[in-house]
């Protein structure tokens, strides 16, 4: 039976994780993500899972990778300084192709910054936070319902592509209460073990066409060696060979880049004839739609593109919109991060305008409407 509840965003995230099959959580208290850990500590024992409060965020990120290799879907949640501490192990998750989910409830930064206030200033860290070349998947929810839905989606993407997936939420969504509809059942991507022919040598990193190899659990008898060193198809370290390294890292990137059309998710509203497009992700979208509707009433041809997956960035969709649109507006709770991506894709054909806002308070519809009007009036000049 479909269940309706009135819950905190962070609680919705925990409920989503349980629905997706998460049965291990390791975390460390940090504002404004702590309620996720608290809810998981209540829910996991009731669902056959385990919760461990670790000694720090580095350990939390390590523990969920270990748990994932034990054959259990696993997650951690953190904010600000915590996500910085997790970066090295996120890179380990990338090179070892370990499915894990990391929730980042973004807060005002740098450093300890504004623990109780919202921001979207970790977006570039989500992309490039760990050292090295890699591609990442990140989802940004704009409502309590989306925090639930996107957490499930994050688990499914993590399993499908064998990657760490980040849910880049923020304090507004994490600490808001809204109606949550919990469906009867949710679609789950389950892990699939490798299948070997009689006498076939097991090559844990010999990837098929789509770049993703099946993954066994420890104890399944495959005797897999998992290492953060550059490794060959057998999983053995091979750190001095340029070809081995190139093949490995390119495959890790390609399995995301070449499947971008399947991973990217977004929502277009009023875009058909739009000359101005407001591009948003996460919380600011909440103010965008009101502003767009009001501007439409005043006769401005404006639309909204709401990006669910900031990473990988939906280049193709934006290029398509740029065929008609002359101006793009991006409200972000930072001084300009994803706007550089927008600039990269649309900058040649259109003008890109940032509404950067920091301090922890969400953009108001009026602020966005004002910018739409300003851009529209300049177009007339």
């Amino acid at each position: 039976m479909v269940e309706e509840r009135f819950v905190l965003g962070n609680e919705a995230c925990a409920l989503g994780a349980i629905a997706a099959g998460c049965r291990f959580f390791a975390g460390y208290p940090i504002t404004p993500s702590t309620e996720i850990a608290e809810n998981m500590s209540v829910l996991l024992p009731k669902n056959g899972g385990s919760f461990v409060q670790m000694e720090d965020e580095i350990a939390s990120a390590g523990a969920i990778i270990g748990a994932s290799w034990s054959g259990v879907k696993s997650m951690t949640a953190t904010s600000g300084p915590g996500i910085s501490l997790m970066q090295e192990n996120i890179g380990y998750g990338v090179i070892t192709e370990t499915p894990i989910v990391i929730i980042n409830v973004q807060r005002g930064s740098p450093s300890t910054g504004q623990p109780t206030m919202s921001s979207q200033s970790d977006m570039m860290q989500a992309r490039w936070g760990s050292h090295g070349d890699y591609e990442t998947i990140a989802l940004s929810p704009s409502s309590v319902q989306e925090f639930f839905d996107f957490t499930i989606k994050a688990f499914n993407l993590a399993e499908e592509y064998r990657v760490p997936v980040l849910v880049m939420s923020d304090e507004v969504v994490g600490h808001m209460r809204e109606k949550l509809i919990i469906p009867d059942s949710v679609d789950i991507v389950k892990r699939v073990r490798p299948e070997l022919e009689e006498g076939e040598q097991y090559l844990p990193y010999d990837a098929p066409e789509n770049g993703v190899t099946p993954m066994p659990a420890f104890g399944d008898g495959f005797n897999v060696h998992v290492t953060g060193l550059t490794h060959d198809k057998r999983g053995y370290p091979d750190t001095n060979d340029a070809e081995t390294h190139t093949d490995l890292v390119e495959r890790l990137c390609d399995k995301i880049l070449k499947n971008k059309d399947k991973i990217c998710s977004y929502k277009e509203e009023f875009c058909d004839d739009a000359e101005i497009v407001v591009v948003s992700y996460g919380s600011p979208y909440r103010s965008v739609l009101t502003a767009v509707k009001e501007a439409r009433e005043e006769g401005i041809k404006v639309g909204s593109l709401k990006i669910d997956t900031p990473w990988p960035f939906p280049d193709e969709e934006i290029s398509k919109l740029a065929e008609n649109a002359t101006d793009f507006i991006m409200p972000e709770m930072n001084l300009g991060q994803m706007v550089h991506e927008l600039e990269r894709v649309a900058g040649k054909d259109a003008n890109v305008h940032l509404i950067g806002k920091i301090g922890g308070v969400l953009h108001t519809p009026e602020e966005i409407l004002e910018k739409i009007k300003e851009v529209a009036s300049k177009k007339e000049d």
Binding site: M54, E55, I58, A63, G66, G219, G228
Partner: protein, 286 residues
């Protein structure tokens, strides 16, 4: 007829031999002692998963024919915690070194010991950073030389076995590579202890520690370890002054008490009828 080869070779990935360790490195001896300890225990080799961090000793699991996780520097115990709690049916063995366990991973070490999680940790303490070329470590004896202590170390080193005992581990022992039989026996006890077991194996590093500290050959290094070892019992009758430069060997703790995974499982059984969701990532639905 049995194969005429070293009795411990059968546990290794033959296609990776010889291993990367320098001639006379103690890692190989500790590895043998581990296999001997395993044979003497009730633990089945097929049920063993290994975890390690970064450093020479952390390369050991990669040579063993079992599932192994070679992780980030210092963090082996964090990964091992997730691996063990996720599926408590496995016997999880961690190989680590003095730099990995006591310096960058010091916090994880004391917390894993505090939780008394059922892991067997074998810490090869060679008093130096070998992989990076001979820098001093938190266990380098006062006055010893390293590439980052050209005038001799002035710091007081960690006494690892005592540190882990104080942090709450249920089984702790220390031996050296010059005592392989005793080391193997301690590893047997550590494997059979249901809780956090820490076995410190003091080892020679001829290439770096030895070269810098007048113990250039493996034999000199092992002779030094043997000559300067004092049993726990004998050490209790010695003065602090007499114990300077000595390696106290023997059992430091053997006090079984309830471990983390048992507590986790109890919590599930008190709240849920379905038991632990072991390997549930492979389930169709929940």
């Amino acid at each position: 007829m049995a194969v005429k080869e070293n009795p411990y070779k059968k546990y290794l990935r033959e296609d990776r031999l010889p291993h990367i360790f320098c001639p006379g490195c103690g890692n190989g001896i500790v590895m043998n002692a581990f296999f001997k300890g395993l044979e003497g225990s009730d633990v089945d080799f097929d049920n063993v998963s290994m975890v390690s961090g970064i450093g020479c000793s952390s390369r050991i699991p990669g040579y063993v024919k079992c599932d192994s996780l070679h992780t980030t520097h210092g963090r082996a115990l964090s990964f091992a915690t997730g691996l063990k709690v996720g599926n408590p049916n496995q016997d999880v063995v961690v190989f680590t070194g003095d730099g990995d366990a006591a310096s960058i991973g010091g916090n994880h070490l004391i917390h894993a010991a505090r939780r008394n999680i059922d892991l067997t940790v074998i810490c090869i303490n060679n008093n130096i950073y070998g992989m990076t070329g001979g820098q001093i470590s938190p266990t380098s004896p006062k006055g010893s030389f390293g590439t980052t202590a050209p005038y001799g170390s002035r710091d007081v080193p960690f006494d690892l076995a005592s540190l882990v005992t104080a942090a709450g581990a249920s089984y702790v022992a220390r031996w050296t590579t010059a005592h392989p039989m005793q080391l193997a026996k301690a590893i047997t006890k550590g494997l059979e202890n249901k809780g956090f077991s820490f076995i410190e194996a003091v080892s020679q590093c001829p290439t770096y520690y030895g070269r810098k500290n007048k113990l250039k050959t493996p034999v000199l290094g092992m002779d030094y370890l043997k000559a300067n070892s004092v049993t726990k019992r004998r050490s209790e009758k010695m003065s602090e002054e007499e114990l300077i430069g000595k390696i106290i060997v023997g059992e430091f703790a053997n006090r079984p008490h309830k471990e983390l995974c048992d507590n986790e499982e109890d919590l599930v059984n008190e709240n849920y009828d379905g038991g632990l969701a072991i390997k549930s990532a492979f389930w169709e639905e929940f």
